[in-house]
Subunit: 268 residues, 2 copies
């Protein structure tokens, strides 16, 4: 299946730990698909070399940015304009089909079955569930689509200042047209769902396939103390999944010895 | 259309203000359907008389209760066992089709088109969006369904201790089978969505048809001061919708002069 690939984006150094851990989590599930990482000029050559050891392909792309501070402020996430860079996945026409995964996702079980889905498949967003969450989606690289998306971003913009608002605008019949394009929520499980609706998590959470650490505080930003114990203040409900993320990191990424500046300060 | 009805439930006195305001909000949209209110023995005759002035029919039913404190505690809503009483809607076989509306919903625009949908139609829940929210749903009264639901409640129970967990267990193919059974989110707009995903609310909120005040603090529990000004501490994001609820209340329910004990203490 060399013509199908999982693709992520590391648009800045502070998501490198996410991208690397994601790649190894995919490898641990014995995926039969290629792994691709998009990077921008903000990612140094040394870091690209580290990514190249984990991914089959590291593709340099230019940075796309919404620069839409008004809507990003509404979202309380000023840093997300840069997520427009995701659109470059549609330029990977060497692949027949691709699955995008945010760098803050962790794959728990083999998800190669995602390639059975069509463009555009995604799971609902918890904030406004007639919108899909754009952290996990299935798409078909195509230059026309790429150009239409870039055009839409320039003419209409994104209602949330990030890629999610733009993609929901473009694939606007997602919520009404075809149920098969609704990925089950367990393919993009918001890590906070354990808290939002605890009984449903208890009932369905065992089927989790991909967990998504949505929000400003990413797993690699939660400090651990010298004994490796996690200090997840205000995030107790995340600990189960944070532990899985760090365990995967420790199995594969620890040895890479990234500069200490990539990690949060140790808790003392 | 005398064989189709909107149905709500007032299982206890503290939801009477909700039920009455909901009924008048429906009347203001010139609905062509009947309005039915289910009540239990907990609702006094005086109050039933008031409800009978607003609804076409007030139907006394017995109380069903999950008595499932374990799962209700997970939900942080110990009071919701009583919502099993909703199941009595399936006994209203004098109607060909019914639309259930929680007593904490407010109808903003005519929603008679809901009767074009089939059983079982509902909108996604924000907590776990592969589950539907059971505050608004379309169903077909049928004694077999009623008995199967009661049986399921006795044998398997509800994963959240309330009607929502039970109904999701029963109509378990809702998330995967038929997109037409997914009501648009604007037919059951979680009032907190204004906060959860503000840019989406800004983009799509103008289409809101039914707003649902999910959570422990209902509109009628937010005190107003002597000038009618709302004091919505920690709920600023709700004020727009709370104001609409109180405006409808003031137009129709104020004159009924319910005992002062139904209202929160005045703010001084
Ligand atoms: O500074 C940034 C912001 C975002 N991203 C990429 O864009 C994705 C979407 O952003 P994020 O996951 O932070 O958004 P959220 O899921 O929290 O809404 C990330 O996972 C990364 O792949 C990045 O590389 N650098
Ligand atoms: O003590 C109660 C609790 C619930 N209900 C009815 O059951 C519905 C569901 O409960 P609620 O709306 O409080 O649940 P939520 O929407 O907050 O999950 C209410 O709207 C009422 O119709 C009631 O009459 N008395
Ligand atoms: Mn993400
Ligand atoms: Mn409700």
């Amino acid at each position: 299946m060399s013509d199908e690939a999982f693709v992520t984006l590391v648009a800045s150094d502070n998501y490198v730990l996410g991208g690397l851990t994601l790649a190894y989590s995919l490898r641990e599930t014995n995926t039969q698909r290629k792994l691709v990482c998009l990077v921008t000029h903000k990612v140094s050559q040394t870091i690209r070399d580290r990514l190249a050891a984990a991914f089959d392909e590291v593709v340099a792309v230019s940075e796309l940015n919404s620069n839409d501070s008004v809507n990003l402020d509404l979202l309380c996430r000023p840093e997300l304009g840069i997520t427009f860079t995701k659109l470059f996945i549609w330029k990977l026409t060497q692949y027949k089909k691709t699955v995008f995964l945010d760098a803050d996702t962790l794959v728990l079980k083999n998800v190669d079955e995602l390639f059975d889905r069509e463009e555009f498949s995604a799971a609902p967003d918890v904030g406004w569930p007639d919108c899909f969450n754009s952290g996990v989606f299935v798409c078909v690289p195509n230059l026309d689509t790429f150009h239409e998306l870039v055009e839409l971003s320039e003419n209409t913009g994104s209602f949330d200042g990030g890629d999610q608002g733009l993609l929901n605008e473009y694939f606007c019949d997602w919520s009404t047209k075809d149920i098969h394009k609704h990925l089950p929520f367990v393919f993009n499980l918001n890590a906070n769902a354990t808290y939002f609706y605890a009984p449903a998590y208890k009932r369905y959470g065992k089927d989790a396939k991909i967990v998504h650490f949505i929000g400003a505080a990413k797993p690699w930003m939660h400090a651990r103390d010298a004994n490796g114990v996690l200090h997840a203040d205000n995030a107790e409900h995340l600990v189960e999944h944070l532990d899985l993320w760090w365990a995967c990191h420790d199995r594969h990424v620890q040895d890479i010895n990234l500069p200490q500046s990539f990690y949060p300060e140790e808790y003392v």
